[in-house]
Symmetry: D2
Subunit: 346 residues, 4 copies
Amino acid sequence: MIKVAIVGASGYTGVELIRILHAHPEVAVTCVTSEQSAGRPVSDVFPTLRGRCDLILESLEPVGIAGQVDVVFTALPHKAAMAVVPTFLKMGKDVVDLSADYRLHDADVYGKWYEKHLTPELLPQAVYGLPELRRDKIREANLIANPGCYPTSVILGLAPLLKGKVIDPKSIIVDAKSGTSGAGRSAKVDNLYCEVNEGFKAYGVGGVHRHIPEIEQELALLAGTPLTISFTPHLVPMDRGILSTIYSVPTGKVTAAELVTLYEAFYEGEPFVRVLPEGVLPSTAHVRGSNFCDIGVVVDERTGRIIVVSAIDNLVKGASGQAVQNMNLMCGLPETLGLDFLGIFP
Amino acid sequence: MIKVAIVGASGYTGVELIRILHAHPEVAVTCVTSEQSAGRPVSDVFPTLRGRCDLILESLEPVGIAGQVDVVFTALPHKAAMAVVPTFLKMGKDVVDLSADYRLHDADVYGKWYEKHLTPELLPQAVYGLPELRRDKIREANLIANPGCYPTSVILGLAPLLKGKVIDPKSIIVDAKSGTSGAGRSAKVDNLYCEVNEGFKAYGVGGVHRHIPEIEQELALLAGTPLTISFTPHLVPMDRGILSTIYSVPTGKVTAAELVTLYEAFYEGEPFVRVLPEGVLPSTAHVRGSNFCDIGVVVDERTGRIIVVSAIDNLVKGASGQAVQNMNLMCGLPETLGLDFLGIFP
Amino acid sequence: MIKVAIVGASGYTGVELIRILHAHPEVAVTCVTSEQSAGRPVSDVFPTLRGRCDLILESLEPVGIAGQVDVVFTALPHKAAMAVVPTFLKMGKDVVDLSADYRLHDADVYGKWYEKHLTPELLPQAVYGLPELRRDKIREANLIANPGCYPTSVILGLAPLLKGKVIDPKSIIVDAKSGTSGAGRSAKVDNLYCEVNEGFKAYGVGGVHRHIPEIEQELALLAGTPLTISFTPHLVPMDRGILSTIYSVPTGKVTAAELVTLYEAFYEGEPFVRVLPEGVLPSTAHVRGSNFCDIGVVVDERTGRIIVVSAIDNLVKGASGQAVQNMNLMCGLPETLGLDFLGIFP
Amino acid sequence: MIKVAIVGASGYTGVELIRILHAHPEVAVTCVTSEQSAGRPVSDVFPTLRGRCDLILESLEPVGIAGQVDVVFTALPHKAAMAVVPTFLKMGKDVVDLSADYRLHDADVYGKWYEKHLTPELLPQAVYGLPELRRDKIREANLIANPGCYPTSVILGLAPLLKGKVIDPKSIIVDAKSGTSGAGRSAKVDNLYCEVNEGFKAYGVGGVHRHIPEIEQELALLAGTPLTISFTPHLVPMDRGILSTIYSVPTGKVTAAELVTLYEAFYEGEPFVRVLPEGVLPSTAHVRGSNFCDIGVVVDERTGRIIVVSAIDNLVKGASGQAVQNMNLMCGLPETLGLDFLGIFP
C-alpha cells in the first residue's frame, strides 16, 4: 500500500481526494492536515466520511508528515504550497501539487500573474500533469503541477486543433462556465447560497483570470508558437462542472466529420477523454463525479468558425481525479486504477 | 381601462403577462385562452393568481375574443400566432405578438428558418418592438412583433457599437446563456427537474438557432451593412434570466472608459437600460423579475477584443415586460406605466 | 408622502422592504443604514436597486435619523434593535421592529430564550403585529413587534382550530421548512452555496428554536390556555419560502369539508390569507414574492389527526411584507396599499 | 462473474444500478431493457455511461433474458413487475424486484392500495429485503422485494424504538421529504424544472401514499402489534435524498444519551447504518451517492416527545444500492462488495 498525505484537506478538492482514494486498491490515506480545523476528525468537517475516514486533521508540519508517507498531495492555496513542497521533495517524497505554484515554467510569468516565486529553482523539474499530453514525463517526475480546472477543459478541447495546425492560433476565444465549488469553501458573502442561486454572471472579464498564462503556456507548446487568447469565466448555479465553449477560425476549410475523426485519432486509447459523435454535445451533468472529459466539435457553416465544447467535473478531472491519475503514473500503477467509476446521474 | 386578452395564457409568458398587468393601473385582463386547459380557471393552472385573477380559460375563438377587448397579446407558438393575428387586426384590435411570426421582415428568411409564412402581406406593417430602437414607430403601430429573449439581450448589447461603427461587424461572436423557463412549459423529459438541475450545456450549436435571423436583421440595420454572427445558446439550471457574453473586434483602439461613455450617451434617458460603470458587470440575479437590461463593457487589453455582457430576465424584458412596454407606447400611455417594479432578490 | 427609514438595510429583509416600498404610492424611503457598508450606495450592495434607489447607506445614529423620517423599520438582529428603538419612540416615531425584541410579552421568557431584556418597560405598549388577529390594536400602536417568519406560518395555520376549540392544544406538532434566506446574509461556511445546495436537513431539533416561545405565546392566547408544542425547523435548498406541516388531534370527529368551512369563515375578507379548497394543498412556489399565506387542511381518516399545511414567503408575509401591512394600519392607510402584487412564477 | 439483467433500465433506478454494478468486481451487466428506448444504446439515454456501458436496450422478453443471466433486477412500475417476475423465477433466476409488487405479505392489502394482485401465490416466498432486519432470510431467498425509499428511511429510523418497546406505537408521525428523482423520469408538467425548482410542497397528505402499508407492515412486525401511522411526504427541490423526521411518544422517561446507546447497540456492526452522536443530526447531503442511512435521535425535554431524523439517498440505500446489497447476500458474496463507496460532496 502506498501511504498518502493530503495537505489541506478541509477544502473541496481535499475531500474529493479522500473520496476517490478511499476506493483506490493500492492507496491508504494516513495523514490529513488543516490549519483551521486541526484536532478535529476530518469526518466532522465532512460527514460523508464518517465511519470510513475518521482521521484527525493535523497541523501542517512538513518534516513530520513526510516521515510517515510515500506521496503528498498539496491542496493548498498558491504561495502556501511552495512554502512546503521543497521540504517534501528534499525528503524524497513524490508530490502532486494542486495549487498553481509549479504550473508556469517561467518564474517571471508567475511573478506577473501571482507574486514573486519562492522556489524558482524547482520549476524545471516540475511536470505539468496533463497525462494526455505528457504521460511519459509524468511517469518519471517527482513533482507534478496538477493542472487548473479551466485549463484542463480548454487544453484538452484545443490540443488536436493546435497540434494539427487546423486553426489560426490568434483566433481563440474561450467562454468558460464553472460550478460554484470552483470558488472554494471560504466564508464569503459572494458565495452564499442566496447570492449564487438563481443567478448567472461573468467574472474576471477582460483577460485577468490567473488561469490564462497556464492555458497559453500549454497551447503555445502545442501550436509551436506563442499565442494570446480571450478567456471569460462565468459562475453557474450548480455545485460541480466546467463547460468551455471555444471559438476559433480554421486556416482552411474543414467539416465537422473531419474534425471528429481528427479528435478520435488524437485521443485514441485515452481512458478519460470521450470524443462525442458528430452532432452530439457534452453536458456537465454527464461527467459529474467522474474523471471524464467529454468533447464535442461543431463547424458553423455560416461563419466558418469551429466551436469546440468540452465538459469536465472541476473537482475530478479538473483537480482531484487528475491528481490521482498523475499519482498512478508516478507510482507505476495502472493509470486508471481507482478512477474508473462512472458519473452520478441525476 | 384598456381591456386586454391574453391568448395562450397557460405558458410562462402568459402568466407573467397576467402578473405584470395585474399591477397596471390602466389595464384590465378580461380574457385568457388556452386550448389544453380550456374551462379551468387560470388560477387553477397557476395558483399564484388565486383570488386575484380567477378568469376561466377559454378556447381560442378570435372573433368572439376580439369583440370583447381592445388589445390582444398573442403568446402562442409560431405558426399558431399567424393563424389568428389577421383576424384580430381585421377587427381593429391592437396586437402584441410574442411569437416569431412577424419579427422577420422578409418572408423568405422566415420560410428558411421556420416554414412558409401564411400572411406575408402583414409583414410590412409589423413593427419589431424594441422601444430603445424604434419607439416612434411602435407608437403608431397596430401590430407589434415582440422581440425574442436572446435577440433583446444581444441587440441592446451591441447597438451602440454598431451604430457608432466601433467594431468590425464580421467579428461578432455571441455566447448566450438562458434560464430554463425559456424552454417553455411542455412536458418533455429533457426539461424535467432532474435532467436540468446540476447540469450546464450548450444546444443548437453551429448557427442553427432560430433567433439568429432576427438578431442579424436588427444588427444589420444598426450597422448599415449585412452581417453574420456566431451564436451559441446554453441552458443554465435556474428559472429565469439571460446573460449574453458578446465578443467583437474594434476597428480602432478604444478604452473601456470611452465605451462606457458611448453606451451612456446612447442609452441616456432610457428607463429600462442600465449601463454599468466601468469595471462592473451584470448578473441575471440583479434583473430577475424586472424589466431592466443591464449592460457592462470591457476591453481585453491583451487581445484588443471588446467584451460586452448584457443581462435580462427572459420573461420580462425578454418577453412579457417588453410586451407591456410596447402596449403602453401603442396606447399612448406613459412607457413605464406598470413596469417600474424592482427585481426580486434573492 | 410618509418618510421612512430602514435601519439595517444590508440584509435580505432590508432589501425586500426597499423593493416593496419602492412601489408604495404613499411612502418614500429616505434613509437606509448599515454599519458594515456605511458610505456605499445601497444599490452597490444590492444591484437590483440601481437607478431606482441609490441612497447612501449611513451609520446608525438614532437621533439624527429620527429627525428626518416619520416611520422607522428596524431590521436589526435582536438586542441591536432594543438598543435603538427607545430613542425612535421617544422622538415620537412609529416603529415597526422586525427583530424578536418586542415580540414576547414577558421579559423573563425573553431572558430565558435570548438574554436579559434592556427595556422591559416598553413591552406592554408593543403590539404583536399579526393583522389577522390584532388589526385594531395595530392601528393604535406606535411600536409593532413584527412576527417571526415561522410563527406567522404556524399561528395563521392554527388560529381557527384553537379559537374554535377543535383540537387538543397539547397535541400540536409543527414540522417546518424554510428557504435559505431565512438564515440571513452573514458570511458563514454553513450557508455557502455548495453546503446548502442539493441537501436537506433539520436543525435546532428538540424544542430549542427561538421562535418557539413566540408561537406558544400567541397560540396560548388563541386557545385560552397555556400550551407546549413540538417544533422542528428544516433548511430547504431554495431562496425563499416557509412551509409548515402541522399535526394535531381533534377533540371530536371532524371532516375536512367542515374544517375548510371553518377556515373560510375565520379568514373571510382577509386580503392576504387564501384558504384552499378541500383537496388542494399549498406550495411555497405559489406565494413566492407575494404577501399571501396559503393554507390547506386535511383530515387523516386512518389516524384521526388533522394536518394543516401553510405556506408563506418568509421575506414577504414572514417579514417585510407584513411589516408594510402593519405600517399601513398604523398610518391609517388602506391595509393592502402597495402590497397587492402577485407572486412571481416561475 | 455473475451475469445480471436490468429490466427497466431507462429510469433513474436503472441507471443507478448500472453505475453501482459497473464498479462491482463480481458482476457483469449483460442485458438491459427498455420498451420506449429499445434498440438504442443505454449510453445514448444516459451519456454518463458512454464508453463504459454501451449495451443496446432490448425489449423485455422474459424467457430470452432469463436464458442469458443469473440474476434479474426488475426496475419496473408496479403491475409490470409481477407480469414478468414469475417467468424469471420459473427459469430458476434470482430476482431483486424494485417495484412494490412483492413487498406486502397480504394480497388483500395490496389490492386495497394498488390493484388486484396477479400472483399472490408468490408472496410467501418473497422476502422484504431490508438486510438490517432480515439478513438470513435474504440469503436464502430467490425473490427479494426491495423496499421502497420512504419505507427504508422510516423503518431503519424506528426499528430500535419499536423493537425495544420504548414508544407508544400509536403515537408515530412521519414527516418525510424526498428529492425529485423519487418522482421518476416520465414527462409530466409537474416534474418540469421550473415547476419544481424554488418550491417546496407536501403531496399525498392524509394517509394516502402507497408506501404507508409497507411501512406499517414492517413496523407492526417490529412492535409485535398492529399500528397505524401518520405519514406526510414532501417534495424537495434537489435531485436525491430522503429525510424523514419521525415523532413519537415514549412509554417512559428516556434521555437522548440512552437512545443513542440503544441505537448503537441495535445497529452494531451494520456496515451501512451510521448512528450519529448525541447532538448531531443527519443531512441528505452527507449520504448523497452512498449506501448509508444516517440516523440522529433527540428527546424534546419540553414535550417529552422523541424525534428521530434519518437520511438516505433515495436512489442508493432507498433503491439500487440496497438492491445490490440484497443481491450480494443472495449470491453468497460479501454484503458490502461494490458498495463501499463514499458519498459525493459537494
